[in-house]
Structure formats: C-alpha cells, structure tokens
Symmetry: C2
Subunit: 260 residues, 2 copies
C-alpha cells in the first residue's frame, strides 16, 4: 500500500490502519479471531466508540466480518484495493507488484467535438486536452486509453511527460479535485488499430470501461474510454446480502482469480 498522505489524526483511523496492516501482513491470519472490542479498548486505551468505528471501516473494506456474540474474524480472500488503485492504472499495477508502462500516441489540445461537448457538459467551442495511450503491464500491451480532460486541468498535461507515469497521480499532486467517478462497463469488438496495438485480432472482444470523473462540485473534469484485453484484465465484484457488509467491493484483477 502506498503511503497515504491524507491526514489520519482521528483515533479510529489510526486503529483501523494498524489492524489493516496486521491483516494484510498476515500477522492476523485468515479466519483468525480479532481481539474482542474490550480487548481493543484496553490495548489502544480508547473507549468503545472509536473501536467500533474502526471495525466498521474494516468491515466495509471486506477485511473482517462480524457476528453478534463472537469476536470479529479475518475474512478469507482479503482482496482490497485502495480507491486510487481503481482510478489509476499505474497505482493498480504497482499494487500487484508489477511494472506499469505507457506509450503515448497522441496528446492534443483542440476544440471539443460535438459529442464530447454533450458528454462533458461543455459550451460549444471549448477546448479540451485529449490523450491516447497504450498501457502495459510488465511490457504486455493491456489497455488502450482515450482520455479527454477539461481545459482547466488539461493544460497542465501539455508540459507533462505522459510516457513517464501516472497522469492521475500527477493531477492529484497538482491539486486537481478528481473526486468521484462513474464507470460503465461493457464489451466491444476490437477496432483494427486497437487490435494491432493490443496484439489481438480485429473484432476480438475487449472489456470497455467508460469513465466520467467529476470534481466535488460535480464539474466533469475527465472522460475516458479504456479498452482492456480481456485475457489480461478483468473486473471483480464481491457483494453480500448480509447486512453486516451492505456495500460491494470492486477491484480490477490482472488475470482471472482462482475461485477460492
């Protein structure tokens, strides 16, 4: 996990972080019981509130499961990705111990095409910065990325070496408020150019992820059309009817995960 520079001053965040690290490092084995809430209270020297808040965080991340009457348990398959790993290709690949790569084919600042004007809610004639890149994992072509950035943040990209690394991280570091994203996932046939770059046959099925990224105020800052070689990447969703974990876990995977 990358060091998160977000302030973690609250006790429940510190407690959650410590327990999370123990789980991810294997210090708390899969299936093992966590200390009971009262144990955690005395260990961390806090009251029950922060303990429960920390456990709720881990539960929402799918790392533990809780049952009334029993201590919390470490869940099997503690697959968790940080939100950055979902937004950023580079961060995702590195989190899996592999090496991300990219080859930029085009970066241009131009007036948005009519379809893009509608999709991004722009005024006619507004500029956007468009980038087309091939993304690689350990040198293997994996994804074609076509992004359009709002001019306000896109201009910064014109001076950025888009072959050097993560646009997402660059923008975040420069203060861009890429806050929330909507992703629509479907399957499309590979166009001739995409097929050649990805090393598949024309018409081969690709997993397409179209993303719209908004600022906190709802302004659309980026739209993207990412097409993955489906033998290189897939999407994983874990969800539960159990009221203890009402929200799903979503992650990208580099290959089909074993059915544990």
């Amino acid at each position: 996990m990358t060091a998160d520079s977000i302030a973690l001053f609250a006790k429940h965040d510190l407690i959650a972080a410590e327990l999370r690290e123990q789980i991810e490092s294997g210090s708390l084995a899969v299936g093992a019981d966590l200390p009971s809430e009262s144990d955690l209270q005395s260990r961390f020297g806090v009251s029950r509130g922060p303990i429960r808040q920390a456990l709720a965080t881990l539960r929402s991340e799918g790392l533990i499961e809780t049952t009334q009457g029993r201590p919390p348990r470490v869940r099997a398959q503690p697959l968790v990705q940080s939100i950055d790993d979902f937004f950023s290709f580079s961060s995702w690949v590195r989190a899996q111990g592999k090496v991300p790569g990219q080859r930029t084919f085009e970066i241009a600042r131009r007036r948005a095409a009519p379809a893009l004007v509608a999709r991004m809610g722009l005024a006619e004639g507004e500029f956007v910065v468009e980038i087309v890149r091939l993304r690689l994992i350990d040198g293997i072509p994996t994804m074609i990325e076509r992004s359009s950035f709002h001019d306000s943040i896109g201009k910064a990209l014109l001076t950025f070496d888009t072959d050097s690394g993560s646009i997402y991280e660059y923008l975040i570091d420069n203060g861009a408020e890429l806050d929330e994203g909507t992703h629509v996932v479907d399957a499309v046939p590979a166009a001739p150019l995409d097929a050649e770059l990805l090393g598949v046959e024309t018409g081969a099925p690709l997993l397409r992820v179209r993303r719209v990224t908004r600022s906190r105020r709802g302004l659309i800052l980026e739209t993207s059309d990412d097409r993955y070689r489906s033998d290189q990447a897939s999407l994983l969703i874990q969800n539960s009817r159990n009221e203890n974990r009402p929200t799903p876990i979503v992650a990208r995977t580099t290959h089909t995960v074993a059915n544990a």
Copy 2:
C-alpha cells in the same frame, strides 16, 4: 423497492428507511439539505447515535453526502439498486419497469465434471443440478445463463418450473442461505450456439459475468456463467475518493446510461 421481509427493528434502520423513502419519492429534492442531526433527534425522539448510524447507512448507499459544519445534502443521481436486484435477473428487470422472461433449455441432475468439482470444492462424484436458460427483457434475448447448483439446494429446483420466474427468489423463499457472491467480469466472443440464441453474430463480444455464490459459512452453493448481449446490458460503478463515501455503488443497467 420490493417489500423487504428482513426484520427492521432497530431504530436506526427505521430512520434510515424513512429518510430513504423521502429521498426516493422526491419529497426531499436532489441537492436539498436534510434536517440537521439535532432536528432529526427531536423529530424521531432518539439520541444522536441512531441518527448518525442512519445517516451513515444512507451515505454508504450514495443517497446523501455529508460535510463537517453543514447539514447533509441529497446527492445527485441517487441511483441505488437493492442487493437483490444485483443477484436476481428477474428482480433487476422488474425494478426497471420491464418484463423479465426466460426459456429453459436444460435442467439436469448429474455428477459434477472435474472442472466443476474443483471450482465448487466438491468431492469427486458429487451431484449437481445444472440449468441453462435464455433470459429476456421485454421479449428481447439478453443473456445466456449457465448455472450449477449444489445438490442440497439444487434438488428443490427439479420440481420448480424454471420458465416461470426467478430461481433466486424461489431459493431464498425456501430458506436457502445465498449470502455472498463474487463476480468476475470480462469479455468473451459469442460461441455459435450462444450467438444464435442471443441473435448476434458468432464471435460478437459478450459481457461475461461469472458468479460464485456462497452461504454464510462459506459453502459454495452456486456457480454461474452469464453472458450478456453488450448492447442490452452493461455494468455501472460509481465510486468516490471522498472519505465520506468510501464504498462504491454497483448496478446493472439495461442500456448505456446518459452521462448526467
């Protein structure tokens, strides 16, 4: 929303349900402020704890967003599907005001093939119940479903009219503990048979969702391989870097949603 027979006795659940209904009915408009926590305390006659728990639930569902120092606000695009709508094709289609349909091609009880033995963690020679169905939306072929059920619950299906409706709902009503699911999403070319049934060309890209459904105790009760016509259905994921809403929202959509 279907009437949920799950017990909702806790006050925070009742409060969340009432606020949720006000949001979904439009009684609380998008962007409008919710009453402050102290207002809600006096309105519902409870202390601050259950109020905050209810708000946390709505926040995790993406219905509201909260900021320190300001009352909670109703989020734009309150797209929420119940968990049943994600597990059950029929429930999902009906929730969108459309008519689900199904044509059963095969239902059989047989010894599990070696690959299935491994995938479901069975003993060699164990029986499974396998079902192949074409699923339709308003009469339009949309998905090919190949499911394998653990014998313990599968036997009940042999006396069920699998053309009549939702297997999932039938099993739940009969006490099956289908508790959590893992879905792996990728893209595959249409096999000749699938292509014919779905009305697409052989090799056309299909969105494949492979599901493993487990009981609360981790026993694998069902595995399924669902292949969608990608012009009929797609997957939608909303997530946020904002710490207020750490968990994503996942939903199936019947067509590409407009980029609002």
